[in-house]
Amino acid sequence: MTRVWIITMMRIGWLLAAACLTRDPLELRAAELPRIFPDYIGVTLPPNIAPLNFKIQEPAAAYRVELRSTKGPPIVISSPNPTIRIPPKAWASLLRANLGQPFYWDISARATSPGWTRFATVTNQIALEEIDGWLAYRLLKPIFNYYTHLGIYQRELASFDQRLILEQDEYNDSCLNCHTPLNRSPNTFAFNIRGSGGKNPMILVISNQPVRVEKTMGYLAWHPSGRLLAFSANKLSLLFHTRGETRDVFDANSDLGIYRVDSNTFLFPPAIAAPGRNETWPAWSPDGRYLYFSSADPQPLEKLRQLRYDLMRVSFDLETGQWGQPELMISAAETGLSILQPKISPDGRYLLVTLCKNGSFPIFKSDSDLYVMDLATRRLRRPDINSDQADTWHSWSSNSRWVVFSSKRIDSLLARPYFSYVDEHGEFHKPFVLPQEDPAFYGFCLNTFNVPELMQGPVTVTKRDLARAVVESRKVLSPQGPARDSSAGSQPGQDKSGYP
């Protein structure tokens, strides 16, 4: 009898609460958008993204959110606290049913009195095109010289599932960096190990088979054929400023080289390892006929503030191995900025680069911004996706409709991955941060998201196999190449091993 009474009272209470929460708003603040975090207002979403959970930053006693589009039932969430967690299944159904449609968010808040306030409707957009399903990134503290618990992770973008690919604790605590997939494939990729007993090998994973390549390589770029890798050989050092961003990187000497995967050889062609020039940040065009890279005259350390890189490209014939003449794409002298990290969209239409005031390491420059060049017209412009903090480490999706990049815009210190939609006219839409299950996640995360790379699927090679490739000598390749390329501008190899 008592149990029935309790259940009846609970039902009545629940009905009363539901009635209160679902009562029509009394006040309409139509001109005023609600403040929410993360900023998911006016953004374009891929249909395969995880729920954009958010927190309403308007003080109130209760909240009500209705997410709706043109088809399907709306998602209604009532909550006594400002954290809004969207049911994943309903979210996915709504997005799938409304490709290319606007996506409306009606947010209401109820103060203790007198009643409900409804804010202006947030209008987002659901894109027609999906984004690649997985994102790989490195997670690390705001590091300087020392590093621990540094790892490469992958995240399924349709959910909140984050998995470890490899953490340095799994082998011998050396640094790992520059993870680079071939054409966004999760089965073939490469990354570098630094500081493993004085050696800095590269781990090459081809069709899920990892091998260690006993050759120091820096920034990597796969040729689309998968037959060779362009790499940089840099002599980097970490420097410190006494104001602004503390860290900086100085590249005293660099060249580009080519590692032939099929023959396990490397070389430093004069076209990309010119005497008297420092070349770095290689990137292949999607057809494999051009190698883009940054290039500058060597400068002493004292002139770091004047060190600016041009963007060059050079033609290449894969069959004959012939290189053309380097061609200036963007002049540092003309822009007054250093042009770094070129990335060409898979459809070959656009070149996305980072420009910053000086130097070669844009994530440490708060003025770093993304610029896009239409390769048909060679017009360079600054899309409206940048912030007053560093925006860099960008990567294209397979369908050329999405870019992901690291931005420090939230707190000026820690980089977070942002996604931007690129429409058929080449317009970049307002970016949004990688959604997290807990919308307050970024307020408690002391890790920076480094080098986000989109991938078509999850990496399946196990961390154990990768760690074995680092420490064991079963599958080791010692590439053959010139001890000293006569045409190279500097000594390649182990004397240029300091990668930040």
């Binding site: 403040r35 975090f37 930053q57 400002p82 503290k141 705001p142 590091i143 300087f144 010289n145 020392y146 590093y147 621990t148 050092s237 970490l238 420097l239 410190f240 400023h241 006494t242 104001r243 602004g244 503390t246 860290r247 900086d248 350390l301 770091l304 939230i410 707190d411 000026s412 210190l413 820690l414 307050a440 970024y442 307020g443 408690f444 995360c445 002391l446 196990t462 154990r464």
Partner: protein, 611 residues
Amino acid sequence: MPQQRTNRVVWVGTLLRPWPAFPVGVIVLLVSSFLYVWLRVEPRLEYHSCGPYFYRQRAFLEPFLGRPGGLANYAGVFLAQLNYLDYLGALVFVLTEGMVLLTAVFCLARIGGRAPGLVALVPLFVLLLLRNRYGCPVPALSVGLFLALAASAANVWSPWRRPWLATTISGLISSLLFCLAGLWSALLFAVLSCLFVFIRMGNWSAGLSCLVLALAAPLLAVGKGNLRIAELVNPWPGGVNWALAAVLYASVPVAGAILAFLPEPAATPPVPRPVRWFQAARLGEGVVVLAILLGWAAVWLTFDRRQKFLAEMNYYASCGQYEAVLAAAKEVKALNDPAKTRLELALYHSGRLAEELFSFHNLVEEAPSGAGEQCRALSQPLFELGLISDAEHMACEALVMEGDRPDLLRLLARINLLKDRPQAAQVFLNVLSLIPFQGEHANDAWPIMDPGMPTAERAFLARMPAPVLTNDVLHEELPVGRLLDVVLTLNPTNQMAFEYAMAVYLLELDLEKAVKHLRLLGNFNYARIPRPYEEALVLFQELNGVSFELKGRAIRPETTARFHQFREAARKLQGRANGRALMAANFGDTYWYYYASRRREQPAEAQTAAP
């Protein structure tokens, strides 16, 4: 019913034998353990210097869930938070001791078939010995030990009497223990089960099967590649004394085996009950008392006092109790680098850096320290000197090496406030708010609303001795002297920068730069030239054969006279076995002694001239 009651009384009587020495001894031991840990070990010093720190966040729990023994470690880290207050830390220790004792007594009584008496106290003393060392994860060890003993006690007191049934249940429990508390707890449980089945049930094959089954889960985990051998063998965080940990886990099964194989005591005729309890004291009780005293002597004598003094310096420096830092510094024979850094800060804040730095002749000695702790120690004076970027550099290095410690999180929040990055400051404060006892509250409106500056931060920044360096000086490594020169160029009246620059150059034996900086002496209100500066000046003049003018200030004659005495004594005592000790006794408070000692340690080619 009366029969059961009688049995219970008999068992309780058995467990507490020898009566009353054993229960009295246990109470005395637990009370004295509480006082010892509270007043001598001082858990808050360990909390401050070694942690570990617990974060009320699921992300903190997840790594623990992924490895065997993780949950026991998680519980251990949680219990370690109570070290924040001395008495709470001591109470937690004594409660775990009590629980370990209780379960050990039950296990030993059942396996050994007699009252365990004295041997049941062995794990308690081992725990005390482990507690003597800061940084040892005693709570995690205790939790693992307690879980194993509690499971064993339940197992050996359970009603099943068939050996193979007991073995099967033992296998299941040991697998569960392996997941909860790691390999050592599972093995301890399995060994105790093995002993019980073997000794009390008389089935050696079933007993051995307990061990085999206990190894199944660990071998499976390793075989499947989910676990590395190192993680399997060492499930605890760093700082464990392996020998003591082994003794801790082995003590109960070894004692159980000894008790079981000892000959049964001869039946004696009932003795009339004495009038007073102390009249019952016999040789057995005397042994208990003696063993407890010997155990306490071992605990007392093995306590690392130097580690405690260094921890005191660390703690008091962070609280701004600089006189206490100086008092602790005087007690340490050889200061390590972080302690030297804290000593300098304490001397500066107590107005004695210029005058008394070299009074601490333990500065001369070199002692090892962790790189992370040195970075952490350096970050504080760099911050106060206005070199906030370099303070950030050092604090971030320490954050990577030592984890998200409260002092580093607070400092990095302050640095980011000064660097006009309030949102980043709030992230550090948010993480700080996850640690129990740290009191800072996360800003719910982060990051839209300006997190502002908490009262404590505002008060601290208002007290900053030096303004932030606004010039951009590009540099490698950490050239403190060069950076301080820039600070002094911008503000020649910055006394903290001046005294620190002098300290840097004098400690680095760079007399030329130190003497050059003496030209700034007139900018400050020193009543006279601080003695170490005078001593450096005298030495510089002696080595270079030049005289140095100090704008109306003169070296006191007694300083010059003492230098002659020093030189004469150095000449006389050169080559004598006790020469250094005599020099330290007479001149240990002078810069000359420091200079000569450090020169001696440098390679010959680096030495140009010495007094």
